[in-house]
Amino acid sequence: MGAIVVQLLHAALSSATPIALAALGGMFSYHANVFNIAMEGMMLMGAYYAVYGAYRFGHWLYGVLFALLSGLILAGIFSLLAIVLKVDEFITGIGINMLALGWTTYSLRATFQVKGAFISQTIPPIPRVRLPVVEKIPFLGAVLSSHPFLVFVAVLAAFVCHVVLYQTKFGLRLRATGEEPAAVASVGLSIGRLKFWSAVLCGIFSALAGVYLSLGYVTLFSENMSNGRGWISLAIIILVRGRPVPIMLMSLAFGLLENLGMLLQRYDVPPQFTAMLPYVATLFVLYSYARRLKTS
């Protein structure tokens, strides 16, 4: 039983990481009042270029580099269309998501001459971290140890983002851009530029989520491997109103429920219901949260 609980919590961290990273990225756009739904596409693109870079140049660092570049390019496209040219943000996001799916599927076939998935023993994964002291603690050690390092980056990032958002000049200006753009403009700051930076941050974080998927979680690329995680991250951002630490907690809850769902199949719960569990629970949280807000 112990091993199962350890595995459950270990898995919850693994499942939560890509969602949390993408949500932390999307959070910046949320605060800048940019309705950015492109996390899904940015994540998928990041996942593809992570495998591309790592495989082509033989080191995971190249994977990260290429993924970040792809995230920046998509953020650039998004900014050009949605911020400079003022195209509808939602439509731009849909466009980017579709572009990412089509582009990665095509590139996979054109570059690696395979369809479906590219799997190879020579793709170098991102390193796993063994925590020196924590490792010795009986239960906790097993849960926290031997994760790819991006898991810890995600947890740390939640706190760093909190500080950036609420304690720095940049964070203040970013939130002001969302809440009262006229005030930002009145002190001579460029709203467009702040929105642009929010898109860039979204690109970076979402690309990292992609790296985690294709070089951390598993070591392969398969078509559409982001599989809706970007949308979940969007739901979480809106659910917790863009606060970084609750984003991390909600992602963890989501990861936990997803894996608990699989475990429940052992107790004759039909798999169709267990697959629903995270979503139903999210709706329930949303409902009770909104209710409490209304009565208080």
């Binding site: 595995q7 270990h10 499942s15 369809k115 023993q121 598993v218 398969s222 699989m262 798999p271 697959a275």
Partner: protein, 329 residues
């Protein structure tokens, strides 16, 4: 008069059927799964080489709005249409009714229309899964092998909870019980076919529950299962095509479904006139359409004596000495 007309139709249709020169391959999904659809595609390519026929592949990419027009396009162009029609069996019947002179061969499920136009190739996948269960149960009881725990537990990860996967699981369980009735089989249905990350998660959970071998029946999701085996130093079994080399030393064997070979066989029957319309062709281990991939990767993991025993059981399934019960929903 009626008899005469019938004869004319029969004569005409045999004349028309005499030399099929165009073959279409219509699939509900898309090529690139590196197993099921691709195996069929390899068969189609082989027809092109060996019989100098023209071929065309129509992929529906799981888009239901494409099912009907794809079939019509195929029927207008081809003489023989091989179809993988999960989810559009009704459309297939309708279109076949409109083009009754074409040869329709549905693969992997049974589709029957009232007029007996459509033929089906039905796999006894429970036989292949039975053999996978045999291997898994043998390995989980070989406690001297690296990474094997004393518990007699094996697992399977299914892409979704549907009839085909259920019959896989049913056969797998029978195979395990054949070796050792105490072996426990644990299954997780992931609910998605293209999420390797979730597949890995499911497999890791099964390994944590004490399973030593996990059988993946989940297309792209299943790649994650193979990688999970590597991470924890346990074993996995591949599906549909030979996946042993994907994670060397961790994938013991693969449960093959020779879609390409069966397309080739059916087409040859069409050519030599033994093909029958409306018939259900049942292919299993005996016909060589279902079976295990045992190669040098298997030999690196298992000793020769065990492999001999597996092959012996495979022969017994082929000869009918061992009966595998099909799944009845």
């Amino acid at each position: 008069m009626k008899k005469f007309l019938f004869l004319v139709v029969l004569l005409l249709s045999t004349l028309l059927l005499a030399k099929p020169s165009r073959v279409a391959y219509v699939i509900n999904g898309s090529l690139g799964d590196q197993s099921f659809y691709d195996s069929g595609y390899a068969g189609i390519k082989k027809l092109e080489e060996d019989f100098k026929v023209q071929t065309r592949v129509i992929e529906c990419n799981f888009d239901p709005s494409l099912y009907y027009p794809s079939l019509v396009t195929a029927a207008q162009w081809a003489d023989v249409i091989f179809v993988i029609s999960y989810g559009f069996e009704e459309e297939l019947k309708q279109v076949a009714m409109k083009f009754p002179n074409k040869i329709w061969v549905n693969i992997d499920t049974v589709v029957q229309d009232e007029k007996g136009i459509i033929s089906s190739v039905d796999y006894r996948e429970e036989e292949g899964a039975f053999l996978a269960g045999v291997v898994a149960a043998m390995v989980t009881t070989m406690t001297d092998l690296a990474g094997i725990n004393p518990q007699k537990i094996i697992g399977a990860v299914g892409g979704d909870d549907d009839i085909v996967i259920r019959s896989f699981v049913y056969g797998y369980e029978q195979g395990a019980k054949y070796i050792d009735p105490e072996v426990q089989v644990k299954v997780i249905y992931v609910g998605t076919w293209d999420d390797p990350a979730k597949g890995k998660q499911a497999a890791l959970q099964l390994y944590a529950e004490g399973a030593d071998v996990v059988f993946q029946i989940a297309a792209l999701t299943g790649f994650g299962v193979l990688q999970a085996a590597k991470e924890v130093g346990k074993y996995a079994i591949g599906v549909d095509s030979n996946q042993n080399p994907l994670v060397p030393g961790r994938v013991i064997t693969s449960d093959l479904k020779e879609v390409g070979k069966s397309i080739y066989t059916v087409f040859k029957m069409i050519l030599d006139g033994t093909f029958e319309r409306g018939k259900v062709y049942s292919f299993g281990v005996k016909e060589g359409m279902v079976g295990l991939a045992i190669d040098e990767y298997t030999r690196k993991i298992l000793p020769e004596s065990v492999i001999e025993k597996i092959i012996d059981i495979q022969n017994k399934v082929a000869s009918g000495e061992i009966k595998v019960e099909p799944y009845r929903p």
